[in-house]
Amino acid sequence: MNAKKIDKIAVGFLYAMAGVIVLILFSLLAFILWRGIPQISWEFLTTPSKSFQTGGGIVIQLFNSFYLLILTMLISTPLSLGAAIYLSEYAKKNLLTDFIRTIIEVLSSLPSVVVGLFGFLVFVLQWGLGFSILSGAMALTLFNLPLLTRTIEDSLRAIPLTQREAGLALGLSRWETVNLVILPAALPGILTGMILAAGRIFGEAAALIYTAGQSAPALDFTNWNPLSISSPLNVMRPA
């Protein structure tokens, strides 16, 4: 057989493999859409679910998901950003910072069930926060911090050294250079990282079962007092 023929066979084989994967994904998606779309209605999305009978909607679940997502991002973005700026701009390369990086690496590979159990023990029991949105958001923060820090650090590092030199050579201080030159230049990368992180948080379930609880109280969407148990804004209620 000559090289050309082998090449053709290999390409055909790769096409076939790719085709199988696309086919599987496509049929899954088609099935979900085919069964699901007829069920989705404005009412389904905007009414609470019902216990002990069929029907009802998912408004509470939907709201809780977004609420958790926003809270988690609010807590984890400043933390990650600070850590990433420290690691990429200020940290000297030594044993301590190597150690910190290793820890981040290890944390990022924790299974989410472990994070959930940790959250259960620490936030729910130890700190007495109970099954609550807040416990959930903090567990998700733990889950999210390492990867978010990594992606932000990577996007900061991707900005060439020459940009830092340019800022410093103009007489900007280290902080001004980071703040006014590096961060804006890295912003697209940071945003991408945040969006990916948001996707992960939104799809996370295991860590929440142990921290945010499994059933939400009846929410009253006209009650915006964050201290009331039936208010959607209350962070101490279960979700």
Binding site: A166, L170, L172, L180
Partner: protein, 250 residues
């Protein structure tokens, strides 16, 4: 008159000594050129004039660099102020990824000039001094990265001039550019002499002889010879200098 005076400067990268006992005056309103083979310490010396070496871990320095009468390595020296007074242009053009206008306005704004009209004037003045105003004046909102390399380098010169430095350091500013852009930059550098003190590192012997007033020839971290450019190129005192400029090594 000497604007910057380097006295008994020794510089180490870790254990490696990159500069040996450098003594050199840099005269006001003149162009001083540093020449010498690769790795001989030209960039290291030019970077120690605005303390960019501080960024390098393990870099230690002894000796003195006096600007006017102030030792820039003294403890009380304000580094940010020093770098504002001693501007720098790098080998690779490195404009910020933003509009031409913002590139120039950036330094002055961060240093506290907020009045839009004053900033506008500064931008125009700096771009004119860097001989690029005519090419970009209708397009100041354009991203600086979309310009050609030669234009970008002139933007960087304008950016450095906008913070009103007294000394301008240039480390091989034309080595990434074509001959036409190079000629433009050489011409503009000569024009800057009346307002600024300039130091330029170059590998291009013709460039050094065309534009500089004084030339220092480096070898292995030492200054072998320093004199008027004309003398260095027509009648060098040291054999090594002659060998280098006539292209026998380096």
């Amino acid at each position: 008159m000497s604007k910057v005076t380097i006295k008994e400067l020794n510089l180490f990268y870790g254990k490696f000594q990159a500069l040996h006992n450098i003594n050199l005056p840099i005269l006001k309103n003149e162009i001083t050129a540093f020449i010498g083979p690769s790795g001989c310490g030209k960039s290291t010396l030019i970077k120690s004039l605005n303390r960019m070496n501080d960024l390098v871990e393990g870099c230690t320095i002894s000796g003195e660099v006096k600007m006017d009468d102030e030792n820039i390595y003294a403890k009380e020296c304000n580094i940010n102020l020093l770098r504002k007074r001693v501007g720098m242009v790098f080998q690779q053009p490195n404009p910020f990824p933003m509009s031409i206008y913002d590139n120039i306005a950036y330094g002055p704004r961060t240093h506290g000039i907020k009045n839009k009209q004053i900033v506008d004037e500064l931008v125009e003045k700096s771009l004119r001094k860097a001989a690029i105003w005519e090419e970009v004046k209708d397009d100041l909102k354009k991203n600086a990265l979309s310009l050609s390399g030669g234009q970008q380098q002139r933007i960087c010169i304008a950016r450095a001039l906008a913070v009103d430095p007294e000394v301008l350091l240039m480390d091989e500013p034309t080595s990434a550019l074509d001959p036409i852009s190079t000629a433009k930059i050489e011409e503009l550098v000569i024009g800057l002499k009346k307002d600024y003190t300039l130091v330029i590192v170059t590998h291009n012997m013709q460039q050094a002889s065309r534009i500089s007033d004084k030339t220092a020839f480096f070898l292995n971290g030492k200054i072998i010879e320093y004199d008027e450019t004309r003398k260095i190129f027509t009648n060098p005192k040291k054999q090594e200098t002659e060998d280098y400029i006539s292209g026998r090594f380096g």
